[in-house]
């Protein structure tokens, strides 16, 4: 998301978040809303102060993104599996209107278990929706367990290629690789593109990394202190 909004990929003017020819980003894995809100604040679409109101009643920063209440949110996600279909609708509209905008949709790898995602994948390929890019946050974990222990559908990239999509497979923590992948997919004509980003949930925080039990569990106050210290590269506090 940082690459999209701050890396010069997404054509989005923060002062005109509804411009008809803007690029769209849909966070289909809507439970990652806090990350989206942080990026929207960094991009100047929403205020930094509003971040403190996350999940508070009356605040537009709901637990999952609400497109009616918050500028810059393109879809009200949270029920997994729906974002890519919505993105395909935007892609169709863009083609009808002769706009050159692109639509980017980020799904989780657990979310790829939802059948609707594959309905959209089939349709996007059939309609040559080359103005549609899927990013899969392939962190190998989901709510109840590691992904291979739930439904092990790997290898994902091969499956997407079998559905006629162009696929780039990258380390999702390597920013130069992310930027190269976006440049690469934007040059693809005639087929939709997927970037399968291999990631580690909680990367950079030693006690969270790859402990799938931290899915959906907030950090305690002391855990937050330790986490920020690690992310800043400081020595561990006592």
């Amino acid at each position: 998301m940082v690459a999209l909004y701050k890396g010069g990929i997404l054509n989005l003017d923060p002062s005109h978040p509804s411009a008809p020819d803007r690029d769209r980003f849909i966070l289909s894995k809507g439970h990652a809303a806090p990350a989206l809100y942080a990026v929207l604040a960094e991009h100047g679409v929403i205020s930094h102060e509003s971040l403190d109101t996350l999940r508070v009643i009356g605040s537009p920063l709901e637990g999952h993104p609400n497109m009616r209440r918050l500028a810059g949110v393109e879809a009200s996600t949270g029920s997994l599996g729906q974002g890519l279909s919505i993105g395909l609708g935007h892609a169709f509209a863009g083609r009808l209107d002769g706009h050159g905008y692109r639509t980017y949709v980020m799904c989780g790898d657990g979310e790829m278990q939802e059948g609707q995602v594959w309905e959209a994948i089939m349709a996007a390929a059939h309609f040559n929706a080359d103005n549609l890019t899927l990013i899969v946050d392939h962190n190998g974990a989901q709510q109840s367990n590691l992904l291979p222990r739930v439904i092990d559908y790997r290898p994902l990239a091969a499956k997407l290629r079998a559905f006629e999509w162009h696929v780039e497979e990258i380390d999702g923590h390597d920013m130069p690789a992310i930027l190269r992948a976006f440049d690469s997919v934007r040059a693809v004509k005639g087929r939709p593109q997927a970037i399968v980003a291999h990631t580690v949930k909680g990367k950079g925080v030693s006690f969270v990394e790859a402990d799938w039990a931290y899915h959906g569990k907030p950090l305690t106050a002391s855990e937050q202190v330790r986490a920020f210290a690690e992310l800043r590269g400081e020595p561990a506090p006592h």
């Binding site: 008809p20 609400n66 497109m67 009616r68 393109e74 879809a75 009200s76 996600t77 949270g78 029920s79 599996g81 729906q82 890519l84 279909s85 919505i86 993105g87 395909l88 609708g89 935007h90 892609a91 169709f92 509209a93 863009g94 009808l96 209107d97 639509t103 059948g115 609707q116 309905e119 959209a120 089939m122 349709a123 059939h126 309609f127």
Partner: protein, 320 residues
């Protein structure tokens, strides 16, 4: 509104799905934002007629109702007026989460058109028959729910649906529908239409049951029972004023619909009447069951949805 002494003659008009197909195609010329999303059934829903004239604005996304609704949501979010249509059973049931979260929750301007509703579709049987679609549609906050009773009202309903800002569910049937309203009639969303007046009871009906109500009116008149007949093409928002007047003027309301007992027109009428002006209530509906395969006529007879069934229920109601 006709004089109460003019007998109702069943005169078949176009099926409401056919009227929809024509109305949509014609509107496509004056409203360029209309885009149709289909799921492999355009030759049944009649959206193919729009597709033949406007192929660039017609998307058949195959047998995939969930994706179909999501695509419509994306189109609406980008400023189009998407008309997403399939058999009501598949569209509402298969794609309910998508209607709820992708369309209703963000209040997107998607027009959801469900055809082949009710048991009158005939031999294809229960898997193709929507019998709970009012209940499902009315459980989507912000949706307007419309069920035109005949060809003329369907033309008007399609225009009203496209002009309306916000999500709409339009329910249509498979068989030819008896003519009730004048050609060229308008339809105002949220308004009931009084077709007959009377002081002994009010028959509130929608869809194919409106014609049955008109036939029943005549049979009841012969028995000395004078029924007001109200056609309710809008289930939501409900014309509560018409119901209050009916309760006040006639003291008995019989609600007839081609739908389960639960969650349909009868349910919403009962709640409104109970809140505003309680009176005696009766119902003609499918009850709590699926139907089966049979001819439309045999099914309506077996499952209690004919004019004689309305007469019988009306007689019982006024005797209470």
């Amino acid at each position: 509104m006709s004089a109460s002494t003019t007998p109702f003659v069943v005169s078949p008009g176009a099926a409401t799905r056919d009227a929809f197909g024509i109305a949509l195609r014609d509107l496509g010329h004056s409203e360029p934002r209309i885009v149709v999303v289909d799921g492999d059934v355009a030759n049944s829903t009649r959206t193919e007629w729009f597709g033949q004239v406007f192929p660039d604005r017609f998307f058949n996304v195959g047998i995939a109702e969930s994706n179909m609704v999501g695509v419509a949501a994306g189109l609406a979010a980008s400023g189009k007026i998407p008309v997403v249509s399939s058999f009501a059973a598949f569209l509402l049931c298969n794609a309910y989460d998508q209607l709820r979260m992708s369309v209703a929750f963000p209040h997107l301007n998607v027009k959801v058109v469900g055809t082949h509703a009710g048991i009158s579709i005939g031999e294809d049987g229960p898997s193709q028959m929507a019998i709970e679609d009012f209940a499902l549609a009315c459980s989507l906050p912000g949706f307007t729910v419309i069920v035109p009773s005949d060809e003329a009202h369907t033309h008007a309903a399609v225009r009203a649906m496209i002009a309306h800002e916000g999500p709409v569910y339009l329910r249509l049937g498979r068989p030819k529908a008896p003519r009730i309203h004048e050609a060229g009639s308008s339809l105002e969303i949220g308004k009931a239409y009084q077709l007959r007046d009377g002081s002994d009871l009010t028959i509130v009906a929608c869809g194919l049951m409106t014609a049955a109500a008109l036939e029943a009116h005549d049979a009841l008149a012969a028995k000395g029972i004078h029924a007001r007949v109200l056609d309710f093409p809008t289930i939501r928002p409900l014309d509560v004023d018409a119901l209050v007047r009916a309760s006040r003027d006639t003291g008995h309301i019989l609600v007839a619909e081609e739908h389960l007992a639960h969650g349909g027109l009868g349910s919403v009428v009962a709640m409104a009447v109970g809140s505003h002006h309680p009176c005696k209530l009766g119902y003609v509906n499918l009850g709590n069951r699926f139907a089966e395969s049979g001819t439309p006529e045999a099914l309506m007879e077996t499952y209690g949805l004919t004019a004689p069934h309305v007469v019988e229920a009306a007689v019982k109601l006024v005797a209470k």
